[in-house]
Symmetry: C2
Subunit: 429 residues, 2 copies
């Protein structure tokens, strides 16, 4: 194997620029490890004249990224982004032309993963996506190649650095969600349109991929319940701390007796456990690998170098000749996932009610909870100035989500309760 | 690729029995993921008549493990252990007979890694050892295949579960090293002869392998400074807690301006950092991967399922056809490692002196430290009953190890100082 592996990159933003730089500047080390040269032979981006960190003037340029599918290259690196449009067209064309594809595009794979996996395998090429799940953390490889002996019971993770940064900052400063978000946008830690991050959509894309690898199923976004962090208040974060928890946006995929439970949800994670201690822009994943026990992996979840590192890892797999099926099993054997009904999920819950300071309100809340057979582990009510709304905070014993939702709907209808009750599941960590 | 991958196992202890069980009971799932059957075709162990968890009566039995090198098998799994003797002979014979080898034997590879890697590559076969470094944690794969883009600056880890169990227990109970060790032996958490674990030798074996993967060098035990945990007292652990640290036995390999610094050493790890929070029998590794940042991996470091999980991962690599060079680069390109001189290592140090309660003792200690240009960050001295020995505890600013050792030798010679001064480096975590 001395023929070079020829790489073309579509998209020269932060990550694409980083990948190009590594290929140009660390080519010698990569070639020694791969046993063959790894060579950048083509690039495409929106603006040819933009100034870039590396001198790319000697690399063949293509105005239309789709042209890369037709050039003499072995691997197309897709770093354009977006679930449809040029990224989708390029990946399809490249796979169809029997070129390996490496991508960081979680949206694309969460939406079209099954189709693209089948196309790749039909053409005998690889579609690799380490950079699409948790930035630099090698969790795709771990689930696909390492943690196989006993199967996976659950994958749980902090998969969105923007959300984790916002929640960590809210906890440290007591600021509101809106203030921290505005600041993060100014600092470039959050997008101008942050919906996909803070609404949980990005975490859902990544969870769909991890779930597919873990459970041998086709990725299916429609089976994931998604809740974002927009409604988390400094008050909730303060109570969490008081109870010995921290609020984290988790992606969770778990095998249960009722099927696979998949959700993206802010959760109260027990302080002192690995997931609770993940700070700022870091990502982390816990993989529960049967008798082999839990594995915890933490690292930077986004940004140039961590993402480029994951892309380079995929390229190096291909340089060594490791093609392998896209989601760890041949696309034809990926089963549709049997989804667990959300209402049967069991968890302890943090509940916060905003109530008027009038007689009978606690009795009414307690009555509705009792009617749904939800029992209370602990409760806090703080005095406020007379006439102000009061928070009543409770932690329930383990209860089915459906029962808790029913009770909360009944409680929300009371004229003594102001605003929508807040409900956050507790996670052991 | 539908021909089965034929596996033979040498050694049917805890781990070997676990691997056999997974191959027999989860063969269907493994075959689907590998795209071909993975089949147990031969076994060898010391005692044929020992009762085992799985029914192995249909698998060909060999009294002499070395016979496995000659049978119709593709992969020999060596789980005999020991740096020489049958394990070494079997691995050499198997590689020479162009059979892949998977092993959990860190002693063998730390001592004979270069020779065996060259032999494997000459014969076009693999020698895989995920289970030899940190139990179930996929750190070998991460260093060999994932964290390549920016090179590795340092690998630091808790690599011996027995030591971590003992230190965690000493901290929780205040018991002495000897008492906890005796208890651990009774519970089967420590070997009857625990020297290799508590003396740091096992950690050194594992560190030699991680270092080799990280720095592209041949494993070389002779370059690792090794210190065990036998001299750690409950008093040191108590002071560590007081200063906001926890005592952990670390294996550290770090690129410095003077070369690669490799050592196994109890260290005070800053509380609240991931390594400090690793409890009981768990292992963990931090890989500092250049601009991609630190990666942290934690999991069970030993025992049947975690180790079998790592062995199965290696087998599955081979089933997919991923052979690749043993230490991540062709054996011929592994450079001898340039070792950093230990005396130039810079660190802050925890120092504890046992002194007589007489005038002038502090002046004498402070004088010797000043003479070696070591400055003190903080100090604690506690009153004792009159006439009893007193502990003086100091944390130094960052100082070269050579200077601290010189000062300590001078201090130890004083007739006001009883016993050997204790010196533990501080680690940021």
């Amino acid at each position: 194997m001395t023929a070079p592996l020829r790489i073309a990159i579509a998209g020269l933003g932060t990550v694409g620029g980083g990948v190009a730089e590594v290929l140009l500047e660390r080519g010698q080390d990569l070639a020694e490890r791969a046993g063959r040269p790894v060579k950048l032979v083509g690039i495409s981006a929106r603006d040819r004249n933009k100034s870039r960190k590396s001198d790319l003037s000697s690399i063949a340029w293509f105005d239309d990224c789709r042209a890369l599918a037709t050039i003499d290259a072995d691997v197309i690196v897709e770093l354009i982004g977006g679930e449809d449009g040029p990224a989708y067209e390029l990946v399809k064309a490249a796979l169809g032309a029997r070129k390996h594809v490496v991508t960081a595009n979680k949206a694309l794979l969460a939406h079209h993963g099954s189709e693209l996996a089948a196309l790749a395998e039909r053409n005998g090429v690889a579609l690799k996506f380490e950079a699409a799940a948790a930035g630099g953390i090698p969790i795709v490889k771990a689930l696909r190649e390492s943690l196989l002996a006993y199967g996976i019971d659950a994958v749980r993770g902090i998969l969105n650095g923007t959300c984790n940064y916002i929640l960590t900052k809210m906890e440290a400063t007591g600021q509101s969600f809106g203030d921290v978000l505005a600041e993060a946008q100014k600092l470039g830690f959050a997008e101008a349109d942050p919906t996909l991050d803070i609404g949980g959509g990005d975490t859902a894309h990544k969870l769909a991929l991890l779930s597919s690898l873990a459970f041998g199923a086709a990725p299916d976004l429609s089976l994931i319940t998604v809740e974002g962090i927009e409604h988390i208040t400094p008050e909730d974060i303060g109570y969490a701390r008081e109870f010995g928890y921290r609020v984290k946006l988790l992606g969770i995929a778990r095998r249960t007796a009722d099927g696979i439970d998949q959700r993206v949800q802010p959760a109260m994670v027990k302080a002192g456990t690995p997931l609770a201690d993940v700070e700022g822009p870091f990502n982390a994943v816990v993989a529960h690998a049967g008798a082999a026990g839990p594995f915890f992996l933490e690292g930077r979840g986004a940004g140039e170098a961590p993402t480029a590192s994951a892309v380079i890892a995929d390229i190096m797999d291909l340089a060594r000749g490791d093609v392998g099926p896209v989601f760890g099993r041949p696309a034809g054997t990926l089963k549709p996932l049997r989804a667990a009904p959300p209402e049967r999920r069991k968890s302890a819950y943090y509940l916060r009610f905003q109530v008027l300071d009038v007689p009978g309100v606690l009795a009414e809340i307690a009555g509705h909870l009792a009617q749904s057979e939800i029992s209370i582990q602990s409760m806090v009510q703080r005095a406020r100035s007379p006439g102000e709304a009061v928070s009543i905070v409770m932690i329930t014993h383990e209860s089915p989500q459906g029962a808790v939702t029913r009770a909360l709907n009944a409680i929300a209808a009371s004229d003594k309760v102001t605003g929508r009750p807040c409900m956050i599941p507790m996670e052991a960590g």
